[in-house]
Amino acid sequence: MGLESKLPEGILTTTLEKLINWSRSNSLYPVTFGLACCAIELMATGGSRFDIARFGSEAFRASPRQADLMIVSGRISNKMAPVVRRVYEQMAEPKWVIAMGDCASSGGMFNNYAIVQGADRIVPVDVYIPGCPPRPEAFLYGLMQLQKKIRQEKLRDRR
């Protein structure tokens, strides 16, 4: 069909957009950023049983400047909120945010003076994962949803 029939064997055609999105979605570098209980489940996801490396996200970077995925894993206190925002701003574009767990999604069971009622009050969130804490499988599913979202992105939307 069309161009492909003229090409020698072993050559694929695609759009640059698809190629970039494919590579971005399969090598998300999360920033090493743990807040509370969910961070332990996040570590378990990186551990031997669930093996986040299957999704290309095993390289947790301690510096936000080398990362493109922030996983808000736990409750954000009012004292921590400016720090979370600062970490987000230090990350280079393109960047994505996963709100892991109920507390990061909506404040969860901590509906009180100390806790920010959801990470979306301070950073734009792409994927929300319910659970208290979410199981590693749930987290991986959320990660796959994010990958799906990235693959549908248009390059002109990100400048």
């Binding site: 009012n78 004292k79 404040g107 509906n111 009180n112 003076y113 100390a114």
Partner: protein
Amino acid sequence: MSQSHVAEIIREAFPDAILQEESFRDETTLLLRREDLVAVGRLLRDDPRLAFSMLKDCCGADYLTLGRRPRFAIVYQLYSLSHNRSLRLMVGVDEGETAPSVTGVWPNANWYEREVYDMFGIPFADHPDLRRILMPDDFAGHPLRKDFPLGNEPVDHGLPPRS
């Protein structure tokens, strides 16, 4: 040696220090006069018959809604490793009053008293470093006071409004 013995030893040295003695579920609570707290604490720590060398916990309590006077209490949970015995001390502090610091007796009282100051707004005299500890420095109010609201936001459960 029984728990009432502890009170006797304190009374020997400080006849008027104990305002009230209370026992509930095998736990002894001594309500002390505020000005005697540091001296009694030193006795409790240093007297080999008592040897309450460890301050396990120190916290505040606000009795506003119970209408008790004085309004606040500071509660000290002491433990003696050598005698395997626990003791609870309490002192009352009213609004606008200053509590004595026991940092000189048990050094770890430092942070606990900072927490009491942070959460209840009770100032401590002679405290080496009285700052907020848990809340941000610019936070207004003292959360664990009973007149401080929980600060919860109304939750939308997604239910349709009743017609």
